[in-house]
């Protein structure tokens, strides 16, 4: 049984490991604030949100579009996704109370499985009722309701409950067996509980031998218990498996509804700030264009954000040059976050956003390290890059922030240019923030390269907007010095 709210063809798999370097991506893009807005203090929900965003990196367009439908419904009906999330959580808690770890022992616990299944059946009834009384509009939610209705018929509940009652074996267990080569019984088959004289209504009662244990024969009682367990093993296995399977369904429901709940909360926060939201367009290949794109993390932190516009179809690499403290990192983060959101089927913080889908996201940001490590810093950068390159996917997005700045401009630029060239030729989309003029200048004349610059007004003030503009040999440190030290620095 599939939940299917997040994927058209399967359920969310939380066991899937994070892609290589994911913690760096989270840190570099400032995802912490986004997570807090989506998950609040809910540790489980935090994990779900992290997993879904990370797994989005391998999304196909069909998944993106499917999930956008579900997210739209969640934004319209935050109460519904919250109720689903709560119902799934409560049902699982009830199941765990009755039986934890049916699979942990060497043989299934039939009695625990019966109690657990009763709790799960109750959850299924409530879920069906909740979906049936809500006027669902999106295909993912409608399909879930239809799948449940097909299986959870009144007859199903009636039969399942009858079996649960019979499996308590009030009159003992009947089983068929054969003789093993060592003289034991083997090949047990559970037989239906026998009504009195059910099997010989017309013939004579077959010859039967009876062993009645002495009341103090504890070893014998234990052995009989083992024989009984072997007999009910198949039924117990089937039931325990069913319990785990239904529980897995509720686990998936909890995770998928949880993500949608997070999406609804994030949208609520951004709307409250008066910021625009848009469902982005997933494209193929070297496509990138946006209007009013802002850094969602920064907006959550500061309550405001400046939007940027860009059309960069067919352009790769993109260099962002210009003054220090020109918020260049934010220019790197906003498209990085938007790409992640796009691939995860979420809305983005923009008026419009279109981008080609990638299959991985890598960030290589300058680290503010301990000064004592100064000497090894360049080596650390190279080691980190080596690790990323070793795990590179076939068409990822690679964000560089002041990489190779731990060495001289000449050497850092030479190495950086070589790295960028190799990556671009390999089909990697590169966005590179650098204050090294020499590095960016190495790509002057290359038609596919796009150069962006943080805008500065004639009076020296910054607008935090990007403008296409070739690199210039001077940065704006002079400005900063003047600002900080006054005229004497000039």
């Amino acid at each position: 049984m599939r939940v299917g709210l997040l994927f058209p063809d399967r359920d969310l798999d939380l066991a899937h490991p994070f892609p290589f370097g994911w913690e760096d991506v989270e840190h570099d893009l400032g995802l912490g604030d986004v997570y807090r807005a989506m998950a609040g203090e809910d540790g489980y929900l935090l994990e779900v949100v992290r997993k879904v965003l990370a797994q989005g990196l391998t999304s196909q367009a069909a998944t993106v579009l499917h999930r956008q439908e579900a997210v739209r419904e969640a934004l319209e009906r935050p109460d519904l996704v919250e109720a689903l999330y709560t119902l799934a959580g409560e049902t699982l808690a009830a199941k765990r109370r009755e039986s934890y770890g049916l699979f942990r022992r060497d043989r299934p616990d039939l009695y625990g499985a019966i109690k657990a299944m009763e709790a799960l059946l109750k959850g299924l009834r409530a879920l069906l009722a909740l979906l049936q009384r809500t006027p669902l509009t999106s295909p993912p939610f409608q399909a879930l309701e239809a799948r449940l209705e097909a299986v959870l018929t009144p007859a199903f509940f009636r039969q399942a409950e009858a079996h649960l009652e019979a499996l308590r074996f009030p009159k003992g267990v009947w089983m068929a067996a054969g003789l093993s080569r060592e003289g034991r019984s083997q090949g047990y088959t559970l037989l239906p509980p026998e009504e009195r004289r059910a099997w010989w209504p017309f013939g004579k009662r077959p010859r039967t031998y009876v062993l009645t244990l002495h009341p103090r024969d504890e070893a014998g009682a234990r052995i009989l218990g083992e024989i009984r367990e072997k007999g009910i093993l198949e039924a117990a296995k089937a039931l325990a498996t069913a319990v785990e399977e239904v529980a897995r369904f509720f686990e998936s429901l909890r995770a998928e509804a949880g993500f949608l709940l997070g999406a609804a909360r994030l949208a609520g926060r951004l709307k409250a700030l008066g910021l625009p939201l848009a469902f982005p367009t997933p494209a193929e290949g070297l496509r990138l264009a946006f209007r009013g794109l802002y850094d969602v993390g920064l907006a959550l932190r500061q309550g405001m954000a400046v939007g940027n516009d860009l059309e960069a179809h067919g352009r790769n690499p993109i260099f962002i040059t210009g003054a220090n403290r020109g918020r260049k990192t934010t220019f790197l983060r906003s498209p990085g976050l938007a790409q992640l959101f796009l691939q995860a089927g979420l809305f983005v913080g923009a008026e419009r956003f279109e981008s080609g889908l990638v299959d991985g996201l890598f960030t290589h940001f300058k680290r503010e390290e301990d000064r004592a490590l100064e000497a090894g810093k360049f080596e650390e950068e190279l080691r980190r890059l080596d690790g990323l390159v070793a795990h590179l996917t076939s068409k990822p997005l690679f964000l560089f922030n002041e990489s190779f700045a731990a060495t001289s401009e000449l050497e850092g630029s030479e190495l950086g240019a070589q790295v960028v060239r190799v990556l671009v030729e390999a089909g990697v989309r590169v966005v590179f923030v650098t204050h090294f003029y020499t590095l960016a200048a190495a790509f002057l004349g290359d038609e596919r390269t796009l150069f962006l610059k943080a805008e500065r007004l004639p009076d020296g003030r910054r607008t935090y907007r990007l403008r296409p503009e070739p690199p210039e040999p001077t940065a704006y440190a002079q400005d900063l010095l003047r600002q900080v030290f006054g005229e004497e620095a000039g």
Partner: protein, 497 residues
């Protein structure tokens, strides 16, 4: 043959043949294969007879047939042990039936192997003819038919157990449906296409029945008297079913397989093995040989031993000198092992070998001991040497490893010359490891030296090369490395042109 502790021949420990024996036969405990290993052949024809059997058993399809045979016979033995130990009469009979089944399966597999890959050695051809006759004998045919009938009767039993509150009921099965499947069916929509498989596994029970199982078995015999009647008749009619000649074949096959299995990974790693020619006149030689025990250890650690050769011609005494830890003792052991394995009719380490079948292998390996007992120690050594020399003939192999190491230099020289002279007089083959270079210059000897790397004298190559013993090249080279030769020291202290 001189015997040491626990019936192990005296030279086994010196040559590490005791370790080899233990490693070879560990998987075949209780079969008494050690006795064969400790009894080298004295007749060249017997050696060739065994070599041909071993060659047959090396060819893979036949080797596999014999391995399967051996495993089957082992199962038979296990079954018989269980039948012997069982207290419950019906279980005893069931284990007996299992033993017979293992026996029949073992013979069937062997027969198929022999049919598909006829052996070429007279030894195995004789067994094949025997097995063919045996398989046609009335006793064997009856054994096979009876076991078939008995087993199918038992396999067909199906019965119903009802367990309820300290009460167990038993009756025949009458075709009732499988309820577990009905339960699984109702929850199938949640499993998807295929229900996940259950991981849990019961521990295998011990061999004996508990009292409830015994009760069930007893009453099954009452419920199904015909099947159990057959079992009883089978047990009574076929005691002592195993054929003695085939039991002997199993033991002999195990001996060869144990050795061939042991050397298989070495061969795979590229180490050569060869069936030596039986020679009566010199030269006696082996090429690219190695210490089998050391090779096994090195292979385990992922490396290979250095191979060495040896040659006896008019010079029948090999005098081995050179630096410590240079492989001299290993070389001496290797020579002894090669001769012993040859005398068992087995393939020996080496790419080519041509050997005299020795009447005995005599060894004297020095154990460096307490110097306070110097005098009595020397005396004891000499007594042992005398015993060895007294027993030696011109067909004996004598291996002496640092035999005079505890004596004063003057004594050692004297004794050394004397002993070598005696060996020469006897005409025995000798390998003498010694620190006395001059022994290598005596008539009738061949001088072998453990080599060091000319580039790095601290490194041993473990090659034992035919070379005059000077004992100095090594010391000089090492001094060079540390810059302590005359020229280097001169230069370091300044000056020189």
């Amino acid at each position: 043959m001189e015997e040491g502790e626990r019936g192990v021949p005296a030279h086994f420990q010196d040559l590490h043949l005791d370790e080899l024996e233990a490693a070879l036969f560990a998987p075949h405990g209780g079969m008494g294969l050690e006795a064969i290993f400790r009894r080298p052949l004295q007749d060249g024809k017997a050696v060739i007879h065994r070599q041909r059997v071993a060659q047959d058993l090396e060819a893979e399809p036949l080797a596999q047939a014999f391995r399967t045979f051996v495993r089957g016979m082992e199962n038979m033995r296990k079954g018989l042990e269980l039948a012997e130990g069982a207290r419950h009469p019906w279980q005893k009979r069931l284990y007996f039936l299992l033993a017979v089944e293992a026996y029949l399966e073992a013979l069937e597999g062997l027969w198929k192997g022999l049919l598909g890959h006829p052996p070429r050695s007279p030894g195995l051809q004789a067994y094949r003819a025997y097995l063919e006759a045996y398989r046609g004998s009335p006793d064997f045919l009856r054994l096979r038919a009876d076991r078939e009938r008995t087993r199918s009767a038992l396999d067909g039993l199906r019965y119903v157990l009802h367990v309820h509150e300290g009460r167990l009921a038993l009756r025949a099965y009458q075709g009732e449906p499988d309820y577990g499947r009905q339960v699984a069916e109702i929850f199938r929509p949640f499993f998807g296409e295929s229900p996940p498989s259950w991981q849990g596994r019961d521990l295998p029970p011990g061999p004996w029945l508990n009292h409830v199982e015994a009760w069930i078995l007893d009453h099954l015999a009452l419920l199904f008297p015909e099947a159990f009647g057959r079992l009883e008749a089978f047990f009574q009619d076929h005691r002592g079913f195993a054929d003695p000649a085939l039991l002997r074949l199993e033991k002999e096959a195990r001996f060869f397989l144990a050795y061939l299995d042991f050397i298989a990974p070495m061969r795979e790693a590229g180490l050569p093995f060869v069936y030596p020619e039986v020679a009566h006149e010199p030269p006696f030689l082996a090429q690219e040989a190695f210490d089998l025990v050391l090779a096994a250890k090195l292979l385990f650690q992922g490396s290979l031993p250095v191979t060495n050769g040896f040659l006896f011609d008019e010079a029948r005494i090999l005098v081995v000198t050179g630096p410590n830890q240079g492989g001299k003792t290993t070389f001496a052991r290797m020579v002894g092992q090669v001769y012993h394995l040859f005398a068992l009719g087995l393939p020996v380490p080496g790419s080519r070998a041509c050997l005299l079948l020795p009447d005995r292998i005599l060894t004297h390996f020095e154990a460096r001991e307490n110097p306070e007992e110097l005098r009595s120690k020397l005396e004891e050594d000499l007594r042992r040497l005398k015993t060895l020399l007294d027993g030696a003939t011109d067909r004996s192999l004598l291996i002496l490893n640092e035999p005079f190491a505890s004596a004063a230099l003057l004594d050692a020289r004297l004794i050394g010359r004397f002993v070598l002279e005696r060996i020469r007089a006897r005409g025995s083959l000798g390998v003498v490891v010694t620190f006395l270079d001059e022994l290598a210059r005596l008539p009738g000897t061949r001088s072998l030296v453990a080599e060091v790397d000319p580039e790095d004298p601290a490194r041993r190559t473990f090659r034992i090369l035919e070379r005059p013993a000077d004992g100095k090249a090594y010391a000089l080279a090492l001094a060079e490395k540390y810059g302590l030769t005359y020229a280097r020291l001169k230069a370091r202290l300044g000056g020189g042109p």
